[in-house]
Amino acid sequence: MAEPSYIAKTEQHSIELHLKGDWCIEQQTPDLLEKYFKKSDHCSHLYLINASIGQWDSMLMVFVMQCVFWCKRHAINLDVQQMPPAVGKLLAIATAVVPYQPPSVDSSAGVSTWLGENSIRKFFSELKKFLIFIGSLCNTFVKLFGGKSSARKVDILYFIEQVGPRGLGIITLVSVLVGMILAYLGSVQLRQLGAQIYVANLVSIGMTREMGPLMTGVILAGRTGAAYAAQLGTMQVNEEIDAIKTMAMSTMEFLVLPRMLALVMIMPLLCIYSDILGMIGGAIITTGMDVSWTQYILQTQHSIDLVDFICGIVKSLFFALLIGIAGCQAGLQCGRDSTAVGSATTSAVVRAIVYLVIADAAFNILYDKMGI
C-alpha cells in the first residue's frame, strides 16, 4: 500500500491540496497542518484534488472533515469536485445536519457543596421517597384488609412458591452450619469449665432469638430482595410499569403487594424452620463431645420457651417487611437502562442488610428494656 500524503500548492486566491496514496485505516494518514502551506490574505478557495488516490475509506473523510472545519474557521470555500464522487456525497450527508450545541452546564459547585449541601439534600430526598413509599404501602394494606385490593391471587401464590419452597435448600444449609458454628464457639469456652451441656442453651437461645431471623433475613435479602429489584427494574426498562400506570392500575397493589405479602407470610415459617435446623446442627457437634442426644434435647427444652420463639418470629416479620420495601422501592425507582437495573439490585441488597442490622439492634434494646 502506498503511504497517504498530500502536496499543497498555494495560488493567489486559492490553495490546492493534491492527495495521493491509499487513505486507509491501516495507514498513518496525515493531518491538515498549516505549516505545509501558506494562506494568503485573498485566499477564497481550498481545492482538494485527487492526484492519485488508491484505496480509501473513512480516514480520507476524516481528513476532508478537517479541511471542512479549517475552511469554516477561515471563511474559505471548500471544493471537493475533483475528488472521487462519493466523497462529495458523503460530505453532503455529514454536513446536512447542524451540529447540536449542548447548553453549557454551570460546574462552579465546589467540593464543600458536593460534600455538604448535595449529600444532605440527597439524604432528605431519599428519606422523603422512603416515607412516601411506606405511606402508599400502608394505604395498599388498608385497602387489602378492606377487601378492595386488585392484587391477583395467582401472583401471590407464585411469589410464595419463589420465596418459600425454592429457598429451602439454601436456608437448610446455612442454618445447620450456623448452628454448628455456635456450638463450636460455645464448646471451646464452656469445656474449660466442664459445662459443655450449656452449649445447648447457647445454640437454642442464639438460634431462636438472633441467628434464625437474621440469617433467613440475609438470605432472603440476597435471594428475594435482589430478585424483586431486578424484576421491577427490568419491567421499568421494558415500559411494563408505564403500561400498568396508564391502565389506571396501582403499581403498589399490582406489583408490590403480592411480593410483600409472600415475604411476610413465608419469612416467619422459614425462621422457625431455620431455628430448628440450627439446633440440630448444634446437636451434631455437641453430641460429639461427651453430651448425649437425650441430654442435649432435655437441656434445650429447659433453656427456651415460647417467648424466645416469638421474639424471633416478631423480628423476622419486621425483617420481611424491610427486605420487601428495600427490594420493591429500588426496583420501582430504577432508571431506564441496563446499568440502572444493576445498581437497583445492588442498592436493594445493601439497603436490606443495613435495615436488618439496624432493626435487629433496635429489637434487642427493646426486648432488654421489656425484660423478655
Partner: protein, 272 residues
C-alpha cells in the same frame, strides 16, 4: 448444489437450504439465495414471518436447524472460532432498538470497535467518531448517554457504531422503523453512499416499500403461510415479472399513488 442458481457472478453471501426453527416450531425452511457484492439486499416479508430470525441465523446468534451460509465462499457454521470472529470483525450489525451500551457515552460506544481493532491514536479515533456521528446526524451528542436520547437517535447511533470500521457487510434490522420520513430517506441515501464509496454489501430487514423499490438491488421474499421463500431477485424486476402472485401484489402496493388506497381485505378501492 441448489435448485436456484444465480446467474450473476461474485456472490458475497450464499444461503443454502436454510431451515430455521425455535424448538420444534419451524419458522422458515429451505431458503436459497445469493447476495452479490455491492448489493443492497432486502429481506422482505410480513410481520412474524421470520425476517429478524433469518438475520440472527445468518450472523451466528442462533444456529439454523439445517443448511449453511457462505461468506466469500467460506461456510460460517463449519468454520472454527477464529475464522468466525475474523468474519464478524468485517461486519457491522445494527439492531432494532440500537443496542447501545448504556454505561458508555455515545462517543465511547462508537469508539469501542475502533479501539479494539485498530492502533489509531486517541485524537484520530475522536475525529473518526465525530465524522461517523455527523454522517448519521448526531454530531454534538458525543457526551450523551443512551438513556438521555430518543429511540430514533438510538437507532442512528447504532448505525454509527456499525459503520465505525467501514465494514464489508452491513446488516440492518428494521433501520427506518421509528424514524420520520425525512430521516429515513436520509438513511437510505446514506446506505447507498456507503455501498458506493466503500463497496460494502448491505442486507436489510425491512418492510418499507419505498426503500425497497428505491434503493434495493436485490431481495428475498419470505412467506409466513408456506414457511418458505416466495422469490428472490431485483425488486424492480420482480414488481413486473415475479413468478409469485403475492410478491407482485406486495410490491405493486408500494408503487401506487399516495392518494389511492387499496384495502386488501375486501378489495375496496378508494380513489380521491
Amino acid at each position: 448444489m441448489s435448485n436456484i442458481v444465480s446467474n450473476k457472478i461474485d456472490p458475497s453471501v450464499q444461503v443454502r437450504h436454510f431451515t430455521m426453527a425455535y424448538g420444534t416450531h419451524v419458522i422458515q425452511q429451505n431458503l436459497n439465495f445469493d447476495v452479490n457484492r455491492g448489493d443492497i439486499f432486502f429481506v422482505v416479508g410480513g410481520s412474524g414471518c421470520g425476517k429478524t430470525t433469518l438475520l440472527k441465523n445468518m450472523v451466528g446468534l442462533i444456529k439454523p436447524v439445517a443448511g449453511e451460509v457462505f461468506y466469500n465462499g467460506i461456510s460460517f457454521y463449519r468454520s472454527d472460532n477464529v475464522t468466525q470472529s475474523n468474519l464478524l470483525k468485517k461486519w457491522g450489525i445494527t439492531y432494532q432498538s440500537g443496542a447501545l451500551f448504556s454505561s458508555m457515552t455515545l462517543a465511547e460506544n462508537v469508539a469501542l470497535p475502533i479501539q479494539q481493532y485498530t492502533d489509531l491514536t486517541g485524537k484520530r479515533i475522536a475525529e473518526l467518531v465525530d465524522y461517523k456521528l455527523s454522517l448519521v446526524g448526531l454530531s454534538g451528542y458525543q457526551a450523551f448517554y443512551p438513556a438521555e436520547m430518543s429511540g430514533g437517535m438510538h437507532k442512528r447511533a447504532g448505525l454509527a457504531r456499525a459503520i465505525a470500521l467501514d465494514p464489508e457487510l452491513l446488516f440492518f434490522d428494521e433501520p427506518s422503523a421509528g424514524l420520520d420520513p425525512i430521516s429515513s430517506q436520509l438513511l437510505d441515501e446514506l446506505i447507498v453512499q456507503i455501498c458506493e464509496a466503500l463497496g460494502a454489501t448491505v442486507i436489510i430487514v425491512s418492510h418499507e416499500l419505498p426503500s425497497i423499490l428505491s434503493i434495493g438491488t436485490n431481495a428475498v421474499f419470505l412467506d409466513a403461510e408456506t414457511k418458505t421463500m416466495l422469490d428472490t431477485g431485483d425488486p424492480k424486476r420482480l414488481l413486473a415479472y415475479s413468478k409469485s402472485d403475492k410478491v407482485r401484489r406486495f410490491l405493486s402496493r408500494g408503487s401506487k399513488n399516495n392518494n389511492e388506497i387499496k384495502m386488501d381485505a375486501n378489495n375496496v378501492r378508494v380513489t380521491e
